[in-house]
Symmetry: C2
Subunit: 332 residues, 2 copies
C-alpha cells in the first residue's frame, strides 16, 4: 500500500514559503508484529510546528529534512497486528501530514467515547483544549471571580480559554484583530478589544477601558505589543500563563521585548511558560471537566477546514496570517 | 527638642541631583500618650527609595515633597509614653533620614537579642537579608543542589543571596562589575562573572562557561543585559525571583526589554516579582534560620558607612554608582 506524506526540504528563515513543502509517496512495508496501519481522516496543523522546522531542539526534537513531517491526526485502523487496536478502531496519533500512517500500537490512543465529532479530539478535546485548560487552571491558577485577559482570543486555544474562564466565573476580556473575531467574542459574552492600529500605550488604554480594575490572569498567546499592554494592566498578585508568542515565531532576528517588565515587580506578578506535553498526565482530568461541556453544546468551538492532503501546507501557513477562527484542520 | 531631617523638593527625572535633597530643622512637639522619642544611631539608604521619589504610587506610597523622608533606622529610646519601650530600649523603625524621630510605639520593633552589632538589623538581619532569604526560598523555591545565578552579587542583597544559596548546598555564580567585587565573590567560593564590556551574547557565553549545565534559579537584582543573558542559560523548570532592576530605576524613558522572553516558554520557566514587605509575617522564621549564621560569623556581610546625617543623600546616591559593597549605611 502507498502512503503520501509531506516533508520539508530546508530549515526556513522567517515565514516559510509554500515551496518548502514537498509531497512524496512511498510503498509501506508489510506490518511488523505490534504495528497498526491507519487511514487518516483528519490532520491537525498547529503553530508549535513552526518551531520544529528550525532545525534546533527547543522543547521538542526538530523535524528531519526530507523525512515525513509529524503532527496530531485522527484515523481509522485498516490493518492491525496489535490486538488492542482491531480494524475499525478510531485512534489519535502523531503520524499526521500523510494519508496512511503505519505506527507501533503503543503510539496510538483510542478515541474517548463522548458524543462529539471525531475531529473534536484534535481541537476542543485535544491538544488545543488541553492547552487552554492547563494554562488557565494549572499555570495561572485561575479562581472564580478573577478578571481574565486572553490574547489571540479567537484562535484555536484562545477561543477555548475565554469560554473556560467565563464558565469558571471570570470576567473575561479577549484581544483579537478582525471584526468577525471581535463579533464572535462579543456574542459569547467576552469583552472584545482590537489590537489593530494600536501601539502598546493605546492598547493599554483600551484594556483599561474594558476592565478598569485590571487583570488577575493573563493568558498569553501572542507576545509583542499584547504582552507589553497586558503588563501595564495587571493587578497585584497577577499570574501570566505563556502559552505561545505567535507574533515572533517567524522572526528572523529577535525584536526587543517589553520595556515594562518591572511591572512584574511592582505588581508582584508571576509569568510562567508551559508546554502542554509536560502536563499530559492530567489529560483524563481535563476530559472529565471539559468533555461534558462539549457534549452538551455549552462550549462553542470553531473549525477552519481545508480539504485534502495537498492543502496541508496551506492550512499550516494560514495560521500565521490570522486567517483561521478556532482550530485549523485538514479533512482527508 | 530639635529634629533635623531631609526632604526632597521635586520629583526627579533620571538620576537625582544632590540639590534635590534639603536639610531642615524643626522643634518636636511634646510627646502624646503612646508616643516615643528616639535618638537614631544608624540610618539605612536603599534602592527602593528611588521609586518613592517619583511621585507615583507603585507598591508603596510616594514620598511627599517637603515632608521628612522615611526609611529604616536604628536608634535608642530617649523619652517614652509607651510602657513597651522604656528609655534605653534599642528599636528599629521607619523614621529614618533624620536624627531624632518621634513615633507612636506601634511603629517600633525592639531589636532581637542575637550577639551582633545593632546595625546588622538594617542589613544582614534586616530588610536586605530578609529580601535575599525570601527571594531564594519563598519565591525561587531553591532546593539543595540547585545551580543558582545572582546578579548584583556583591550588593547589599546579592552578597547575602549568594552566601545563603551556597550554605543551602547550591552551586553559585555571581555577576558583578568591579575587580574587588569579583575578588570578594571568589574568596567566598562563588564563581564570579563580570558584566563589564559585555553585551548580552558575550555575557551569555561567560555564564555558560561558568556553569555549562545552566541555572535552576536566577536571583535578579539588576535587569537589562543581565536578565537577557540569564534567560539564555535557564534549565528546564527554572525559577527567576525578581527582587529589583536597579539598572532601570533612574531611566527617564523605558528601554526595550529582553528579546528572548520566549525562553520562559522553551524552558518552562517561571519569573516572579516580589516585595519583601508582603512577606514580613515570615520575618521570625528568617531570623531563626539566618540569625545563628550571622552570630557564628559563618555569614560574611559587608557595610559601607557614611558618617553623619548630612551625608545621607550622598550615601543614597552612591547606591546607583555601584560604589558600595554590601549594605550602605549612615552612622550618626
Amino acid at each position: 500500500m502507498q502512503s503520501r506524506y509531506f516533508t520539508i526540504n530546508d530549515h526556513p528563515q522567517g515565514t516559510p514559503a509554500r515551496e518548502l513543502f514537498e509531497l512524496h509517496e512511498q510503498a509501506l512495508p508489510s506490518l511488523a508484529q505490534g504495528e497498526v496501519r491507519i487511514r487518516n481522516t483528519w490532520l491537525s496543523v498547529d503553530p508549535y510546528m513552526r518551531g520544529r522546522m528550525s532545525g534546533v531542539t527547543t522543547y521538542i526534537e526538530p523535524f528531519e529534512l526530507n523525512a515525513p513531517l509529524e503532527g496530531a491526526a485522527i484515523g481509522e485502523v485498516i490493518e492491525s497486528r496489535d490486538a488492542n487496536f482491531p480494524v475499525g478502531t478510531k485512534v489519535r496519533h502523531m503520524g499526521g501530514w500523510r494519508d496512511i500512517a503505519q505506527l507501533p500500537g503503543d503510539q496510538l490512543e483510542s478515541l474517548p467515547t463522548f458524543k462529539v465529532p471525531e475531529q473534536a479530539y484534535l481541537g476542543v478535546l485535544g491538544m488545543p483544549g488541553m492547552t487552554a485548560w492547563t494554562g488557565l487552571n494549572r499555570i495561572a491558577e485561575m479562581q472564580e471571580g478573577d478578571n481574565v485577559l486572553v490574547s489571540g482570543a479567537a484562535g484555536a486555544v484562545g477561543s477555548l480559554a475565554v469560554q473556560l474562564a467565563k464558565a469558571k466565573g471570570g470576567t473575561v476580556v479577549g484581544i483579537a484583530g478582525s471584526p468577525d473575531k471581535l463579533d464572535w467574542l462579543a456574542s459569547h459574552g467576552i469583552q472584545p478589544v482590537s489590537y489593530r492600529n494600536k501601539n502598546a500605550a493605546e492598547l493599554t488604554e483600551a484594556l483599561h477601558d474594558a476592565c478598569p480594575e485590571g487583570f488577575d490572569v493573563y493568558y498569553e498567546n501572542v507576545g509583542g505589543t499584547c504582552l507589553e499592554a497586558a503588563l501595564n494592566t495587571l493587578r497585584v498578585g497577577a499570574r501570566i500563563a505563556i502559552c505561545g508568542m505567535i507574533a515572533r515565531y517567524n522572526e528572523e532576528t529577535p525584536s526587543p521585548g517589553p520595556g515594562n517588565l518591572a511591572m512584574l515587580l511592582i505588581r508582584r506578578a508571576r509569568m510562567e511558560g508551559f508546554i502542554v506535553f509536560d502536563h499530559w498526565a492530567h489529560y483524563s482530568q481535563f476530559l472529565e471537566d471539559v468533555g461534558p461541556q462539549v457534549e452538551s453544546g455549552q462550549l462553542d468551538y470553531e473549525e477552519t477546514v481545508e480539504e485534502g492532503l495537498e492543502r496541508t501546507p496551506d492550512a499550516f501557513l494560514k495560521l500565521f496570517e490570522g486567517a483561521n477562527r478556532g482550530k485549523m484542520l485538514v479533512r482527508l
